[in-house]
Symmetry: C2
Protein backbone atom coordinates (compact mmCIF):
# COMPACT_ATOMS: atom_id res chain seq x y z
CA UNK A 1 0.00 0.00 0.00
CA UNK A 2 1.16 3.52 -0.79
CA UNK A 3 2.33 5.73 2.05
CA UNK A 4 1.64 9.43 2.56
CA UNK A 5 5.30 10.04 1.74
CA UNK A 6 4.93 8.38 -1.69
CA UNK A 7 1.84 10.46 -2.37
CA UNK A 8 3.76 13.62 -1.49
CA UNK A 9 6.59 12.63 -3.80
CA UNK A 10 4.24 11.82 -6.66
CA UNK A 11 2.43 15.14 -6.24
CA UNK A 12 5.65 17.07 -5.76
CA UNK A 13 4.47 18.59 -2.49
CA UNK A 14 5.34 18.15 1.19
CA UNK A 15 3.88 15.49 3.46
CA UNK A 16 2.29 18.30 5.46
CA UNK A 17 0.44 19.50 2.37
CA UNK A 18 -0.92 16.04 1.59
CA UNK A 19 -2.03 15.77 5.18
CA UNK A 20 -3.81 19.13 5.03
CA UNK A 21 -5.58 18.23 1.82
CA UNK A 22 -6.66 14.82 3.13
CA UNK A 23 -7.99 16.34 6.33
CA UNK A 24 -9.60 19.34 4.67
CA UNK A 25 -7.90 21.58 7.15
CA UNK A 26 -7.20 24.46 4.77
CA UNK A 27 -3.96 26.11 3.72
CA UNK A 28 -3.88 24.42 0.32
CA UNK A 29 -4.66 26.07 -3.01
CA UNK A 30 -7.22 24.49 -5.27
CA UNK A 31 -4.50 23.58 -7.79
CA UNK A 32 -2.46 21.87 -5.10
CA UNK A 33 -5.53 20.03 -3.92
CA UNK A 34 -6.14 18.69 -7.42
CA UNK A 35 -2.56 17.51 -7.85
CA UNK A 36 -2.66 15.78 -4.46
CA UNK A 37 -5.98 14.08 -5.12
CA UNK A 38 -4.71 12.88 -8.50
CA UNK A 39 -1.69 11.35 -6.78
CA UNK A 40 -3.93 9.78 -4.13
CA UNK A 41 -6.05 8.19 -6.84
CA UNK A 42 -3.11 7.05 -8.95
CA UNK A 43 -1.38 5.35 -6.01
CA UNK A 44 -4.67 4.17 -4.52
CA UNK A 45 -3.60 5.73 -1.21
CA UNK A 46 -5.84 4.94 1.77
CA UNK A 47 -4.93 6.70 4.99
CA UNK A 48 -4.91 4.47 8.03
CA UNK A 49 -8.48 4.65 9.28
CA UNK A 50 -7.65 4.50 12.95
CA UNK A 51 -5.08 7.25 12.58
CA UNK A 52 -7.56 9.27 10.55
CA UNK A 53 -10.37 9.00 13.04
CA UNK A 54 -8.01 10.07 15.79
CA UNK A 55 -6.70 12.83 13.57
CA UNK A 56 -10.10 14.25 12.76
CA UNK A 57 -11.24 14.63 16.32
CA UNK A 58 -11.83 18.18 17.35
CA UNK A 59 -8.69 18.50 19.42
CA UNK A 60 -5.56 16.48 19.73
CA UNK A 61 -4.15 18.66 22.45
CA UNK A 62 -3.03 17.49 25.85
CA UNK A 63 -2.14 19.92 28.64
CA UNK A 64 1.04 19.30 30.61
CA UNK A 65 1.89 21.10 33.85
CA UNK A 66 5.35 20.63 35.31
CA UNK A 67 6.97 22.54 38.18
CA UNK A 68 10.03 23.85 36.32
CA UNK A 69 11.76 22.55 33.20
CA UNK A 70 15.02 24.23 34.11
CA UNK A 71 15.44 21.39 36.65
CA UNK A 72 16.81 18.66 34.32
CA UNK A 73 14.64 15.98 35.94
CA UNK A 74 11.54 17.46 34.28
CA UNK A 75 12.68 17.77 30.63
CA UNK A 76 13.41 14.01 30.74
CA UNK A 77 9.90 13.39 31.96
CA UNK A 78 8.43 15.83 29.43
CA UNK A 79 10.21 14.06 26.58
CA UNK A 80 8.77 10.75 27.78
CA UNK A 81 5.29 12.28 27.63
CA UNK A 82 5.86 13.98 24.28
CA UNK A 83 7.50 11.07 22.49
CA UNK A 84 4.70 8.72 23.52
CA UNK A 85 1.89 11.14 22.64
CA UNK A 86 3.49 12.00 19.32
CA UNK A 87 3.03 8.44 18.05
CA UNK A 88 -0.70 8.90 18.37
CA UNK A 89 -0.81 12.39 16.89
CA UNK A 90 -1.34 14.23 20.16
CA UNK A 91 0.42 17.52 20.91
CA UNK A 92 1.31 19.19 24.17
CA UNK A 93 0.34 22.56 25.54
CA UNK A 94 2.84 23.19 28.21
CA UNK A 95 3.27 25.29 31.33
CA UNK A 96 5.63 25.60 34.28
CA UNK A 97 3.79 26.10 37.56
CA UNK A 98 6.82 26.87 39.76
CA UNK A 99 4.77 24.90 42.34
CA UNK A 100 2.45 27.91 42.52
CA UNK A 101 -1.25 27.35 42.86
CA UNK A 102 -2.23 30.50 40.97
CA UNK A 103 -0.12 29.61 37.96
CA UNK A 104 -1.65 26.13 37.95
CA UNK A 105 -5.16 27.50 37.95
CA UNK A 106 -4.34 29.85 35.12
CA UNK A 107 -2.88 27.04 33.04
CA UNK A 108 -5.75 24.66 33.69
CA UNK A 109 -8.13 27.38 32.67
CA UNK A 110 -6.48 28.17 29.37
CA UNK A 111 -5.96 24.47 28.67
CA UNK A 112 -9.72 24.06 28.93
CA UNK A 113 -10.36 27.07 26.74
CA UNK A 114 -8.19 25.45 24.12
CA UNK A 115 -10.23 22.27 24.34
CA UNK A 116 -7.52 19.93 25.54
CA UNK A 117 -8.72 16.32 25.61
CA UNK A 118 -6.77 15.52 28.75
CA UNK A 119 -4.14 16.76 31.17
CA UNK A 120 -1.00 15.41 32.78
CA UNK A 121 0.17 17.30 35.83
CA UNK A 122 2.95 17.32 38.39
CA UNK A 123 0.77 19.39 40.59
CA UNK A 124 1.53 20.80 44.00
CA UNK A 125 -0.29 18.86 46.67
CA UNK A 126 -2.71 21.49 47.89
CA UNK A 127 -3.82 22.31 44.39
CA UNK A 128 -5.37 18.94 43.61
CA UNK A 129 -8.85 20.34 44.06
CA UNK A 130 -8.22 22.32 40.91
CA UNK A 131 -8.76 19.07 39.06
CA UNK A 132 -12.06 18.20 40.72
CA UNK A 133 -15.10 18.19 38.47
CA UNK A 134 -13.22 18.53 35.21
CA UNK A 135 -14.97 16.70 32.41
CA UNK A 136 -11.75 15.48 30.85
CA UNK A 137 -9.26 12.87 32.09
CA UNK A 138 -6.34 13.92 34.26
CA UNK A 139 -3.28 11.82 35.13
CA UNK A 140 -0.90 12.92 37.85
CA UNK A 141 2.79 12.50 37.20
CA UNK A 142 5.42 12.27 39.95
CA UNK A 143 2.62 13.20 42.37
CA UNK A 144 -0.31 11.27 43.85
CA UNK A 145 -3.83 11.91 45.08
CA UNK A 146 -6.51 9.48 46.11
CA UNK A 147 -9.07 10.46 43.50
CA UNK A 148 -6.84 10.78 40.44
CA UNK A 149 -4.90 8.18 38.45
CA UNK A 150 -1.16 8.64 38.81
CA UNK A 151 2.26 7.49 37.65
CA UNK A 152 5.06 8.00 40.14
CA UNK A 153 8.13 6.30 41.50
CA UNK A 154 8.73 4.44 44.72
CA UNK A 155 9.98 7.26 46.94
CA UNK A 156 9.87 5.20 50.13
CA UNK A 157 12.15 2.54 48.77
CA UNK A 158 14.33 5.28 47.28
CA UNK A 159 14.76 7.07 50.60
CA UNK A 160 15.44 3.84 52.47
CA UNK A 161 17.89 2.71 49.82
CA UNK A 162 19.90 5.95 50.02
CA UNK A 163 20.19 5.57 53.79
CA UNK A 164 21.01 1.85 53.53
CA UNK A 165 23.84 2.55 51.07
CA UNK A 166 25.63 4.96 53.42
CA UNK A 167 25.04 2.74 56.48
CA UNK A 168 26.25 -0.45 54.79
CA UNK A 169 29.37 1.36 53.65
CA UNK A 170 30.29 2.62 57.07
CA UNK A 171 29.10 6.24 57.52
CA UNK A 172 28.22 7.03 61.15
CA UNK A 173 27.82 10.85 61.21
CA UNK A 174 25.23 11.45 58.57
CA UNK A 175 23.58 14.67 57.46
CA UNK A 176 20.22 14.21 55.77
CA UNK A 177 19.35 17.19 53.57
CA UNK A 178 15.60 17.59 53.50
CA UNK A 179 13.95 19.31 50.53
CA UNK A 180 10.76 21.39 50.74
CA UNK A 181 8.32 19.44 52.93
CA UNK A 182 5.30 20.59 50.91
CA UNK A 183 6.47 18.63 47.85
CA UNK A 184 5.13 15.17 48.60
CA UNK A 185 7.61 12.91 46.75
CA UNK A 186 10.51 14.86 48.25
CA UNK A 187 8.99 14.59 51.71
CA UNK A 188 8.37 10.85 51.32
CA UNK A 189 11.95 10.05 50.43
CA UNK A 190 13.09 12.15 53.37
CA UNK A 191 10.89 10.41 55.96
CA UNK A 192 11.84 6.96 54.66
CA UNK A 193 15.55 7.79 54.85
CA UNK A 194 15.16 9.27 58.33
CA UNK A 195 13.36 6.17 59.58
CA UNK A 196 16.10 3.89 58.27
CA UNK A 197 18.85 6.05 59.79
CA UNK A 198 17.11 6.35 63.16
CA UNK A 199 16.79 2.57 63.47
CA UNK A 200 20.50 2.20 62.79
CA UNK A 201 21.47 4.31 65.80
CA UNK A 202 24.05 6.48 64.05
CA UNK A 203 24.39 10.25 64.48
CA UNK A 204 21.86 11.96 62.23
CA UNK A 205 21.43 15.66 61.57
CA UNK A 206 18.75 17.16 59.35
CA UNK A 207 19.29 20.30 57.30
CA UNK A 208 16.88 22.09 54.98
CA UNK A 209 17.47 23.11 51.39
CA UNK A 210 15.48 24.16 48.36
CA UNK A 211 15.87 21.96 45.26
CA UNK A 212 17.92 24.58 43.42
CA UNK A 213 21.61 25.17 42.90
CA UNK A 214 21.62 28.34 45.01
CA UNK A 215 19.70 26.62 47.81
CA UNK A 216 22.06 23.66 47.76
CA UNK A 217 25.16 25.82 47.83
CA UNK A 218 24.04 27.87 50.83
CA UNK A 219 22.93 24.72 52.66
CA UNK A 220 26.22 22.86 52.25
CA UNK A 221 28.35 25.84 53.26
CA UNK A 222 26.50 25.86 56.59
CA UNK A 223 26.62 22.10 56.80
CA UNK A 224 30.37 21.84 57.25
CA UNK A 225 30.47 24.72 59.68
CA UNK A 226 27.79 23.21 61.88
CA UNK A 227 28.81 19.56 61.55
CA UNK A 228 32.51 19.33 60.67
CA UNK A 229 32.65 15.60 61.52
CA UNK A 230 30.11 14.64 58.88
CA UNK A 231 31.12 11.44 57.05
CA UNK A 232 27.99 10.92 54.99
CA UNK A 233 25.50 13.17 53.15
CA UNK A 234 22.14 12.20 51.71
CA UNK A 235 20.98 14.97 49.40
CA UNK A 236 17.34 15.68 48.49
CA UNK A 237 18.18 15.69 44.79
CA UNK A 238 21.14 15.55 42.40
CA UNK A 239 21.48 19.31 42.05
CA UNK A 240 21.92 19.73 45.79
CA UNK A 241 24.29 16.73 45.78
CA UNK A 242 26.39 18.42 43.09
CA UNK A 243 26.59 21.54 45.27
CA UNK A 244 27.71 19.33 48.18
CA UNK A 245 30.33 17.62 46.02
CA UNK A 246 31.79 20.96 44.99
CA UNK A 247 32.01 22.10 48.62
CA UNK A 248 33.64 18.80 49.67
CA UNK A 249 36.31 19.13 46.98
CA UNK A 250 36.85 22.80 47.76
CA UNK A 251 37.56 21.90 51.40
CA UNK A 252 40.00 19.18 50.36
CA UNK A 253 37.96 16.44 52.02
CA UNK A 254 38.60 13.05 50.39
CA UNK A 255 35.60 11.45 48.76
CA UNK A 256 34.59 8.64 49.23
CA UNK A 257 37.37 7.87 51.76
CA UNK A 258 36.46 10.53 54.37
CA UNK A 259 32.92 11.29 53.34
CA UNK A 260 30.28 9.56 51.26
CA UNK A 261 27.63 11.36 49.24
CA UNK A 262 24.49 10.17 47.53
CA UNK A 263 22.06 12.12 45.33
CA UNK A 264 18.54 11.48 44.07
CA UNK A 265 17.04 11.38 40.52
CA UNK A 266 20.00 10.38 38.31
CA UNK A 267 19.74 13.37 36.00
CA UNK A 268 22.10 13.19 33.05
CA UNK A 269 24.91 15.38 34.29
CA UNK A 270 25.58 13.36 37.48
CA UNK A 271 27.61 10.94 35.39
CA UNK A 272 29.75 13.89 34.23
CA UNK A 273 30.75 15.09 37.67
CA UNK A 274 34.17 14.18 38.96
CA UNK A 275 34.06 11.88 40.75
CA UNK A 276 30.80 10.72 39.15
CA UNK A 277 27.93 10.87 41.63
CA UNK A 278 26.34 7.83 43.25
CA UNK A 279 22.60 8.35 43.26
CA UNK A 280 19.11 6.87 43.39
CA UNK A 281 17.65 6.62 39.92
CA UNK A 282 14.06 7.58 39.17
CA UNK A 283 13.00 6.45 35.67
CA UNK A 284 11.90 9.95 34.60
CA UNK A 285 11.48 9.29 30.88
CA UNK A 286 9.59 6.05 31.55
CA UNK A 287 7.33 7.80 34.08
CA UNK A 288 6.41 10.39 31.48
CA UNK A 289 5.76 7.77 28.80
CA UNK A 290 3.58 5.65 31.11
CA UNK A 291 1.55 8.68 32.20
CA UNK A 292 0.96 9.47 28.53
CA UNK A 293 -0.11 5.87 27.89
CA UNK A 294 -2.53 5.97 30.84
CA UNK A 295 -4.00 9.27 29.65
CA UNK A 296 -4.61 7.98 26.13
CA UNK A 297 -6.37 4.94 27.59
CA UNK A 298 -8.57 7.26 29.65
CA UNK A 299 -9.31 9.44 26.61
CA UNK A 300 -10.31 6.34 24.65
CA UNK A 301 -12.38 5.18 27.63
CA UNK A 302 -10.46 1.95 27.90
CA UNK A 303 -10.33 0.06 31.16
CA UNK A 304 -7.22 0.67 33.24
CA UNK A 305 -6.15 -2.19 35.47
CA UNK A 306 -3.86 -0.15 37.66
CA UNK A 307 -4.74 3.51 38.20
CA UNK A 308 -1.87 4.15 40.61
CA UNK A 309 1.30 3.01 38.94
CA UNK A 310 4.41 2.99 41.09
CA UNK A 311 7.66 2.53 39.13
CA UNK A 312 10.75 1.07 40.79
CA UNK A 313 13.84 3.09 41.70
CA UNK A 314 17.39 1.77 41.85
CA UNK A 315 20.81 2.55 43.31
CA UNK A 316 23.30 3.78 40.71
CA UNK A 317 26.71 2.99 42.14
CA UNK A 318 29.35 5.46 40.99
CA UNK A 319 32.30 6.91 42.85
CA UNK A 320 31.04 9.08 45.72
CA UNK A 321 30.23 6.01 47.82
CA UNK A 322 32.65 3.29 48.93
CA UNK A 323 32.52 -0.38 47.97
CA UNK A 324 30.19 -2.25 50.28
CA UNK A 325 31.95 -3.69 53.34
CA UNK A 326 30.72 -6.88 54.98
CA UNK A 327 30.09 -6.43 58.69
CA UNK A 328 32.31 -8.49 60.96
CA UNK B 1 -12.65 47.35 42.33
CA UNK B 2 -13.37 43.68 43.00
CA UNK B 3 -10.96 41.06 41.68
CA UNK B 4 -11.79 37.72 40.05
CA UNK B 5 -10.53 36.07 43.22
CA UNK B 6 -13.03 37.93 45.39
CA UNK B 7 -15.83 36.94 43.03
CA UNK B 8 -14.74 33.30 43.26
CA UNK B 9 -14.71 33.49 47.05
CA UNK B 10 -18.13 35.14 47.19
CA UNK B 11 -19.59 32.51 44.85
CA UNK B 12 -17.82 29.65 46.60
CA UNK B 13 -16.25 28.42 43.36
CA UNK B 14 -12.76 28.38 41.85
CA UNK B 15 -11.21 31.25 39.91
CA UNK B 16 -11.18 28.96 36.87
CA UNK B 17 -14.95 28.54 37.12
CA UNK B 18 -15.55 32.30 37.31
CA UNK B 19 -13.32 32.75 34.32
CA UNK B 20 -15.22 30.10 32.35
CA UNK B 21 -18.56 31.65 33.16
CA UNK B 22 -17.37 35.15 32.27
CA UNK B 23 -15.98 33.96 28.97
CA UNK B 24 -18.88 31.69 28.14
CA UNK B 25 -16.46 28.89 27.41
CA UNK B 26 -18.59 26.05 28.78
CA UNK B 27 -17.86 23.57 31.57
CA UNK B 28 -20.15 25.30 34.07
CA UNK B 29 -23.59 24.15 35.15
CA UNK B 30 -26.50 26.56 34.93
CA UNK B 31 -26.71 26.71 38.75
CA UNK B 32 -23.03 27.58 39.00
CA UNK B 33 -23.46 30.21 36.34
CA UNK B 34 -26.26 31.84 38.33
CA UNK B 35 -24.25 31.87 41.55
CA UNK B 36 -21.27 33.37 39.76
CA UNK B 37 -23.29 36.06 38.00
CA UNK B 38 -24.96 36.98 41.31
CA UNK B 39 -21.51 37.41 42.87
CA UNK B 40 -20.34 39.44 39.87
CA UNK B 41 -23.32 41.76 40.27
CA UNK B 42 -23.05 42.05 44.04
CA UNK B 43 -19.35 42.97 43.90
CA UNK B 44 -19.75 45.04 40.74
CA UNK B 45 -16.90 43.05 39.16
CA UNK B 46 -15.63 44.32 35.81
CA UNK B 47 -12.97 42.25 34.13
CA UNK B 48 -10.08 44.23 32.71
CA UNK B 49 -11.17 45.10 29.20
CA UNK B 50 -7.78 44.80 27.58
CA UNK B 51 -7.21 41.42 29.19
CA UNK B 52 -10.71 40.37 28.15
CA UNK B 53 -10.29 41.35 24.53
CA UNK B 54 -7.04 39.44 24.41
CA UNK B 55 -8.66 36.58 26.26
CA UNK B 56 -11.62 36.25 23.92
CA UNK B 57 -9.64 35.96 20.75
CA UNK B 58 -10.08 32.70 18.97
CA UNK B 59 -6.71 31.31 19.92
CA UNK B 60 -4.05 32.37 22.35
CA UNK B 61 -1.74 29.56 21.33
CA UNK B 62 1.80 29.93 20.11
CA UNK B 63 3.76 27.01 18.66
CA UNK B 64 7.33 26.48 19.86
CA UNK B 65 9.77 24.12 18.15
CA UNK B 66 13.08 23.41 19.86
CA UNK B 67 15.68 20.78 18.97
CA UNK B 68 15.76 18.92 22.30
CA UNK B 69 14.81 20.11 25.77
CA UNK B 70 16.98 17.49 27.43
CA UNK B 71 19.92 19.75 26.46
CA UNK B 72 19.78 22.28 29.36
CA UNK B 73 20.41 25.22 27.02
CA UNK B 74 16.90 24.88 25.57
CA UNK B 75 14.76 24.75 28.75
CA UNK B 76 16.32 28.10 29.74
CA UNK B 77 15.31 29.51 26.39
CA UNK B 78 11.84 27.92 26.60
CA UNK B 79 11.25 29.49 30.02
CA UNK B 80 12.20 32.86 28.60
CA UNK B 81 9.59 32.39 25.88
CA UNK B 82 6.95 31.04 28.25
CA UNK B 83 7.39 33.59 31.02
CA UNK B 84 7.13 36.46 28.56
CA UNK B 85 4.12 35.05 26.70
CA UNK B 86 2.34 34.22 29.94
CA UNK B 87 2.09 37.88 30.90
CA UNK B 88 -0.03 38.45 27.83
CA UNK B 89 -2.16 35.36 28.24
CA UNK B 90 -0.55 33.31 25.49
CA UNK B 91 0.15 29.62 25.90
CA UNK B 92 2.68 27.35 24.25
CA UNK B 93 2.20 24.22 22.20
CA UNK B 94 5.53 22.58 22.26
CA UNK B 95 7.55 20.09 20.28
CA UNK B 96 11.10 18.74 20.11
CA UNK B 97 12.32 18.35 16.54
CA UNK B 98 15.58 16.50 17.26
CA UNK B 99 16.82 18.61 14.31
CA UNK B 100 14.73 16.35 12.05
CA UNK B 101 12.91 17.87 9.15
CA UNK B 102 10.03 15.38 9.22
CA UNK B 103 9.29 16.04 12.89
CA UNK B 104 9.31 19.77 12.20
CA UNK B 105 6.83 19.43 9.38
CA UNK B 106 4.55 17.32 11.54
CA UNK B 107 4.65 19.87 14.33
CA UNK B 108 4.07 22.85 12.05
CA UNK B 109 1.13 21.02 10.58
CA UNK B 110 -0.56 20.25 13.87
CA UNK B 111 0.23 23.71 15.19
CA UNK B 112 -1.72 25.11 12.24
CA UNK B 113 -4.57 22.68 12.80
CA UNK B 114 -4.77 23.98 16.34
CA UNK B 115 -4.98 27.55 15.06
CA UNK B 116 -1.80 28.88 16.63
CA UNK B 117 -1.48 32.65 16.15
CA UNK B 118 2.28 32.47 15.69
CA UNK B 119 5.34 30.25 15.93
CA UNK B 120 8.80 30.47 17.42
CA UNK B 121 11.28 27.96 16.07
CA UNK B 122 14.86 26.84 16.48
CA UNK B 123 14.64 25.18 13.16
CA UNK B 124 17.25 23.20 11.33
CA UNK B 125 18.71 25.20 8.49
CA UNK B 126 17.46 23.24 5.54
CA UNK B 127 13.91 23.20 6.87
CA UNK B 128 13.32 26.93 6.64
CA UNK B 129 11.19 26.52 3.56
CA UNK B 130 8.65 24.86 5.82
CA UNK B 131 7.82 28.33 7.06
CA UNK B 132 7.34 29.86 3.61
CA UNK B 133 3.82 30.99 2.79
CA UNK B 134 2.42 30.55 6.27
CA UNK B 135 -0.26 33.10 7.00
CA UNK B 136 0.87 33.61 10.59
CA UNK B 137 4.02 35.26 11.98
CA UNK B 138 7.11 33.16 12.63
CA UNK B 139 10.18 34.21 14.64
CA UNK B 140 13.36 32.17 14.50
CA UNK B 141 15.20 31.63 17.77
CA UNK B 142 18.91 30.78 17.99
CA UNK B 143 18.78 30.36 14.20
CA UNK B 144 18.66 32.80 11.31
CA UNK B 145 17.31 33.03 7.79
CA UNK B 146 17.11 35.93 5.41
CA UNK B 147 13.35 36.05 5.07
CA UNK B 148 12.31 35.52 8.67
CA UNK B 149 12.72 37.71 11.76
CA UNK B 150 15.10 36.18 14.27
CA UNK B 151 16.61 36.51 17.73
CA UNK B 152 20.01 34.92 18.17
CA UNK B 153 23.35 35.52 19.80
CA UNK B 154 26.64 36.72 18.42
CA UNK B 155 28.30 33.40 17.53
CA UNK B 156 31.20 34.98 15.67
CA UNK B 157 32.27 37.08 18.62
CA UNK B 158 31.71 34.05 20.86
CA UNK B 159 33.97 31.81 18.81
CA UNK B 160 36.68 34.44 18.51
CA UNK B 161 36.45 35.17 22.23
CA UNK B 162 36.91 31.52 23.19
CA UNK B 163 40.03 31.31 21.01
CA UNK B 164 41.36 34.66 22.29
CA UNK B 165 41.01 33.53 25.91
CA UNK B 166 43.17 30.43 25.42
CA UNK B 167 45.73 32.32 23.30
CA UNK B 168 46.06 35.23 25.73
CA UNK B 169 46.57 32.80 28.57
CA UNK B 170 49.35 30.90 26.89
CA UNK B 171 47.99 27.73 25.23
CA UNK B 172 49.99 26.76 22.13
CA UNK B 173 48.74 23.23 21.30
CA UNK B 174 45.02 23.71 20.95
CA UNK B 175 42.31 21.24 20.01
CA UNK B 176 39.16 22.82 18.63
CA UNK B 177 36.16 20.50 19.01
CA UNK B 178 33.74 21.17 16.18
CA UNK B 179 30.05 20.35 16.64
CA UNK B 180 27.72 19.23 13.83
CA UNK B 181 28.44 21.50 10.83
CA UNK B 182 24.79 21.49 9.72
CA UNK B 183 23.75 23.43 12.84
CA UNK B 184 24.47 27.00 11.79
CA UNK B 185 25.19 28.71 15.15
CA UNK B 186 27.51 25.85 16.10
CA UNK B 187 29.28 26.08 12.76
CA UNK B 188 29.66 29.86 13.03
CA UNK B 189 31.34 29.77 16.41
CA UNK B 190 33.66 27.07 15.09
CA UNK B 191 34.77 28.99 12.00
CA UNK B 192 35.32 32.19 13.99
CA UNK B 193 37.46 30.34 16.55
CA UNK B 194 39.42 28.60 13.82
CA UNK B 195 40.15 31.88 12.06
CA UNK B 196 41.42 33.45 15.26
CA UNK B 197 43.62 30.45 16.07
CA UNK B 198 45.03 30.23 12.55
CA UNK B 199 46.11 33.86 12.59
CA UNK B 200 47.92 33.27 15.88
CA UNK B 201 50.18 30.60 14.38
CA UNK B 202 49.81 28.05 17.18
CA UNK B 203 49.30 24.32 16.66
CA UNK B 204 45.63 23.67 15.98
CA UNK B 205 43.84 20.35 15.61
CA UNK B 206 40.16 19.96 14.83
CA UNK B 207 38.07 17.07 16.15
CA UNK B 208 34.39 16.33 15.60
CA UNK B 209 31.78 15.65 18.22
CA UNK B 210 28.01 15.60 18.56
CA UNK B 211 26.51 17.99 21.13
CA UNK B 212 25.63 15.17 23.53
CA UNK B 213 27.28 13.65 26.56
CA UNK B 214 27.99 10.36 24.79
CA UNK B 215 29.43 12.15 21.77
CA UNK B 216 31.62 14.33 23.97
CA UNK B 217 32.94 11.39 25.96
CA UNK B 218 33.95 9.38 22.93
CA UNK B 219 35.54 12.46 21.30
CA UNK B 220 37.71 13.37 24.30
CA UNK B 221 38.92 9.82 24.85
CA UNK B 222 40.33 9.87 21.32
CA UNK B 223 41.59 13.40 21.75
CA UNK B 224 44.24 12.54 24.32
CA UNK B 225 45.34 9.46 22.44
CA UNK B 226 45.80 11.36 19.20
CA UNK B 227 47.16 14.60 20.67
CA UNK B 228 48.79 13.90 24.04
CA UNK B 229 50.54 17.29 24.10
CA UNK B 230 47.30 19.27 24.02
CA UNK B 231 47.42 22.26 26.39
CA UNK B 232 44.13 23.90 25.43
CA UNK B 233 40.65 22.68 24.44
CA UNK B 234 37.82 24.74 22.96
CA UNK B 235 34.62 22.71 23.22
CA UNK B 236 31.58 23.14 20.97
CA UNK B 237 29.27 23.38 24.00
CA UNK B 238 29.30 23.00 27.79
CA UNK B 239 28.18 19.38 27.77
CA UNK B 240 31.15 18.38 25.63
CA UNK B 241 33.39 20.59 27.82
CA UNK B 242 32.16 18.73 30.91
CA UNK B 243 33.05 15.43 29.25
CA UNK B 244 36.52 16.84 28.50
CA UNK B 245 36.93 18.04 32.09
CA UNK B 246 36.11 14.59 33.42
CA UNK B 247 38.66 12.98 31.08
CA UNK B 248 41.33 15.53 32.06
CA UNK B 249 40.82 14.82 35.77
CA UNK B 250 40.73 11.07 35.19
CA UNK B 251 44.12 11.28 33.50
CA UNK B 252 45.56 13.31 36.37
CA UNK B 253 46.36 16.27 34.13
CA UNK B 254 46.44 19.53 36.11
CA UNK B 255 43.85 22.11 35.09
CA UNK B 256 44.38 25.02 34.39
CA UNK B 257 48.17 24.64 34.96
CA UNK B 258 48.84 22.01 32.25
CA UNK B 259 45.75 22.40 30.14
CA UNK B 260 43.08 25.06 29.71
CA UNK B 261 39.48 24.32 28.79
CA UNK B 262 36.63 26.55 27.68
CA UNK B 263 32.99 25.64 27.04
CA UNK B 264 30.11 27.39 25.28
CA UNK B 265 26.56 28.34 26.46
CA UNK B 266 26.98 28.77 30.25
CA UNK B 267 24.25 26.30 31.16
CA UNK B 268 23.50 26.20 34.87
CA UNK B 269 25.50 23.17 35.89
CA UNK B 270 28.84 24.48 34.59
CA UNK B 271 29.15 26.51 37.80
CA UNK B 272 28.76 23.27 39.77
CA UNK B 273 31.61 21.41 38.14
CA UNK B 274 34.87 21.16 40.00
CA UNK B 275 36.79 23.16 39.05
CA UNK B 276 33.96 25.37 37.79
CA UNK B 277 34.06 25.69 34.00
CA UNK B 278 35.17 28.82 32.16
CA UNK B 279 32.80 29.34 29.27
CA UNK B 280 31.21 31.70 26.75
CA UNK B 281 27.81 32.79 27.94
CA UNK B 282 24.82 32.98 25.60
CA UNK B 283 21.86 34.78 27.20
CA UNK B 284 19.43 31.89 26.62
CA UNK B 285 16.58 33.12 28.80
CA UNK B 286 16.82 36.63 27.37
CA UNK B 287 16.90 35.27 23.82
CA UNK B 288 13.66 33.38 24.48
CA UNK B 289 11.99 36.40 26.05
CA UNK B 290 12.98 38.71 23.20
CA UNK B 291 11.76 36.26 20.57
CA UNK B 292 8.43 36.15 22.40
CA UNK B 293 8.29 39.94 22.49
CA UNK B 294 9.02 40.14 18.76
CA UNK B 295 6.35 37.56 17.99
CA UNK B 296 3.70 39.40 19.99
CA UNK B 297 4.55 42.60 18.11
CA UNK B 298 4.14 40.74 14.83
CA UNK B 299 0.82 39.25 15.96
CA UNK B 300 -0.40 42.74 16.88
CA UNK B 301 0.92 44.03 13.55
CA UNK B 302 3.15 46.56 15.25
CA UNK B 303 6.20 47.91 13.49
CA UNK B 304 9.47 46.18 14.36
CA UNK B 305 12.58 48.33 14.11
CA UNK B 306 15.04 45.47 14.16
CA UNK B 307 13.92 42.17 12.65
CA UNK B 308 17.27 40.45 13.15
CA UNK B 309 18.24 40.88 16.76
CA UNK B 310 21.72 39.75 17.73
CA UNK B 311 22.33 39.55 21.47
CA UNK B 312 25.84 39.87 22.91
CA UNK B 313 27.81 36.97 24.38
CA UNK B 314 30.41 37.24 27.14
CA UNK B 315 33.36 35.36 28.65
CA UNK B 316 32.56 33.83 32.03
CA UNK B 317 35.89 33.46 33.77
CA UNK B 318 35.93 30.52 36.18
CA UNK B 319 38.70 28.09 37.01
CA UNK B 320 39.50 26.02 33.93
CA UNK B 321 41.44 28.89 32.36
CA UNK B 322 44.47 30.66 33.83
CA UNK B 323 44.69 34.33 34.83
CA UNK B 324 45.56 36.45 31.84
CA UNK B 325 49.32 36.91 31.36
CA UNK B 326 50.70 40.07 29.78
CA UNK B 327 53.01 39.34 26.88
CA UNK B 328 56.64 40.38 27.38
Amino acid sequence: MATIREVAKEAGVSVATVSRVMNGSGYAHEDTRKVVMAAVEKLNYKPNEVARSLYNRKSKLVGLILPDITNPFFPEMARGVEDYLQQFGYRLIFGNSDEKRDKEIEYIDTFLQNNVVGMIASTSEEANENFDNLEIPVVLLDRTAEKLPAVYSDQKTGGRLAARVLLDRGSTNIVLIRGPVEIKPVYERYTAALEELTQAKVNVQVMDSSLTLQGGQSCVRQLFEQYPNTDGIIACNDIVAAAALQEILKRGIRIPEDIQLIGYDDIAFTALLHPPLSTIRQPAYEMGAQAAEMLIRKINQEKIAETHKKLPVSFVERQTTRRKVEKP
